[in-house]
Amino acid sequence: MAKYAIINQRVPKLDAPVKATGRAKFADDLVLPGMLHGAILQSPVAHAKILNIDTGKAKRLPGVKAVVTWQDAGLVKYGVSPARYDETLFCHEKVRYVGDEIAAVAAVDLETAIEALSLIEVDYEELPAVFTIEDAMAEGAPQLHAEFPGNICAEVHQEFGDVEAAFKECDIVRTGKFVSKRQDAAFLEPHCSVANYDFSGHLTLYSSTQVPHYVMRTVAMVLGLPVGKVRVIKPFVGGGFGPKCEATPTDLCASLLSMKTGKPVKVSYTREQVFLHCRARHHYVHELTTGVKKDGTLLALHNKAYLDGGAYTSFGIATVYYAGSLLGGPYRLPNMKYDGYRVYTNKPACGSQRGHGGVIARAAFEQQLDAIAAELGINPVEIRLKNAMQRGDTSCNELFVSSLGLKECIQAVRERSGWDKKKGSLPSGKGIGMACGFFVSGAGYPIYRSETFHSVVVIKVADDGGTVTLQTGSAEIGQGSDTTMAMIAAETLGIKLSDIQVESGDTDLAIDLGAYSSRQTLMTGHATKEAAESVKKQILEVLSDELKIPAREMDIRNGLIVFKTEGVDFREIRTRYMKEHRGWTDHPAESSLTFKEAARLAYLRKGPIIGIGKYKPPKLGGSYKGAAVGTSPAYSASAHVVEVSVDMETGRVSVEKATAAHDCGFAINVTSVEGQMEGSLSMGLGEALFEEVKFDGKGRILNPNFGEYKIPTALDMPPVESIIVESNEPNGPFGAKEVGEGAILATIPAILNAVYDATGILIRELPLTPEKVYWALKGKKPPIR
């Protein structure tokens, strides 16, 4: 008999049928009576003083109900981390990027709102702008924010051990510069917000967000509303991947316009505006110096990173810390130094994207590790196995690894991909590469300094006894968290999955920090399990008292009460239940007492049966500056092997096969774990091969659309073999930890290493476009055009 009735199996997602039939309502599908349509005026120039804003003509256009600027919104500064609140809803004295918000309009329809935008007159005095890290950091460069001189948004300097001394003990020390380009998360649903201010002072905001809690806090703070009077509801969300973690101008504008007009207001982004808002993957320059002994033992790493942040901070402080801290694992590395800079430029702000901060650092490091292995004549698999961290290790930057199936992942992909036969024996133009990953299973601390619980889950048993409702503020954004929580609750409580209904993504239900930092399975999962345990205990206690049998001698399984002793007489409970439900057709006919009857009895004795579960990580990490970023109650590990074909004439790279292993601790829903692995691989493949947001000389995006910003299609994706490794994480519910973000980390470097294997050339710049590979094959730099 399987150990578990519900979890660790393949379960169709609870919301799949409503999505398959088009019933699922996303934010833009919502229509409220009397709803107005909003639109946002954005700056056409990258850096300019605002001399004057004239909204007179726009306000007079028939059908226009409100036009708002900074004068209506106020100038409350906000952002993601309180350490860098550097945005206002609307620009005041100057604009800082093409797309910066200046005004918003609400009108009877979208056409009228857009026409009104064209009637707002803004006088600009253009200022010199900076578009590159070098230009922004240059002496005398134009300054974006007076408070942050030198355009340095954030700077990190950390050293663990003694890197210089360790380099002297190394047999080889290698330095390499790795460059990536700005990427977009390219979720399919553009941001959309529908706000409804009811004039009794309550604001309800439907938002396509990953984190209703953070949106609630920001909207309340910026618009000056009491925090208890803002309710954020997440309808179905069409993907997030990071940029939907923070409150957007659509949230704030819709809310402000609704407050001004007293009507519901919808504000959506076009696809171009999604690119302009950005908040996705930064452009990184990493310079890594790594020292190893002849036998491949890693001794030291000096990591210098420069991040092009764009005009505002967004999640950027966390990003620049993660770009250092996540190299603390998954290898034993006794000495590590990090110097990181996040720089302001006159471009849309970058923020968090799947694998937050760690993805490019990981790509650079894993590529360098392969080059060093080649130089030492060590198999890439062996150098990784040799240095792999294990359960119980603590990294030099004080990340404690309570479980880590890294070696198991490496061995699994080695075996399943046929690595030993293929490595070194493929023809020219064919290559095989491997790389590993390491990621947090939920951030150890919230983004604002607080001792708040990270998750609270409420499980209510219907007074009638039949079904259970699970309430959580966590965010189902397609990854399957609602189903995961339902499975954990059903397993813990001993009832059928179909007897659980999940209400989620609503700040009025319970606090949850939402879908970011790959945290929900572990954190919301913990709270769910605790709430379900409480419900079970309450019901069994009543039953114990009623039947005069100790609670420990009974259990709930598959919706039935199971007694350790035979012949328990529960006829009286059943008779009572039948009498209460005369005329009903679903009377319990089982020979065992049912959960329904026991739960009803508990209600009659105690009143409503409600279980509350809460989760907050213990104090984690070191005490050095920035020690919080990178901490987590658990860490995942992964390994990928990728096989590529490189056209040696044209430079075109095709990924032909991928074998991926991920240690998720314990798979609650096997199908969902694989889905996250396959989806991560696809995003990583796009980022490795063709994704790049490009700008012209004036800071305008050249490719803000899917025609020219290419993401993988079904034709670009190879067959993927997903292998789930279960290391049984002691800090996770049932041993579970993350998969959603960590699964992307190994993809990009595995492709880079496969291309290195195929061509013998290290290409240290993403994406690997045919042009870039072509010139690398020629041994030349591309001509400047």
């Binding site: 919301d15 049928p17 398959a20 993907g239 991947f241 397609g478 691989l681 899917f706 994706m717």
Partner: protein
Amino acid sequence: MRKLINVTINGVEYELGVKPNLTLLDLLRYEVGLTGTKKGCETGECGACTVILDGKPVTSCLVLAVQANGKKILTIEGLEKDGNLHPIQQAFVDKGAIQCGFCTSGMILSAKHLLEQNPSPSEAEIRKSISGNLCRCTGYQKIVQAIISVPGRTEK
């Protein structure tokens, strides 16, 4: 000036007055209330707005409502029969082919068109037929597996 058009959507006839610049996508979503058809880019690139127009899949953001005059339109809402999911919908549910669900409507309709034209497509043919439907969540693997698993598909 509104134009009067007659369209049959999911077997139901409609007589509608529409603005000449209204897209078929906006007609379906905002005038008829069939929001299962999704708006992801409005430039015909993501495929989320795919519907079947007179038997052929089109990106409805690139079709004007007036161009649909006199034609038959099938949207995702028209696939269920007698309260049962269409076999392709059921396969998508069973195989884990749906994550966020935003591409799902268009993806299922592209798959339906493929299986009508070619009841026994190879995996390569399946990938080609859905290559105009972008999905950022799944990596396509479970979508391809779902289409392969649809009952009635014969092995090549």
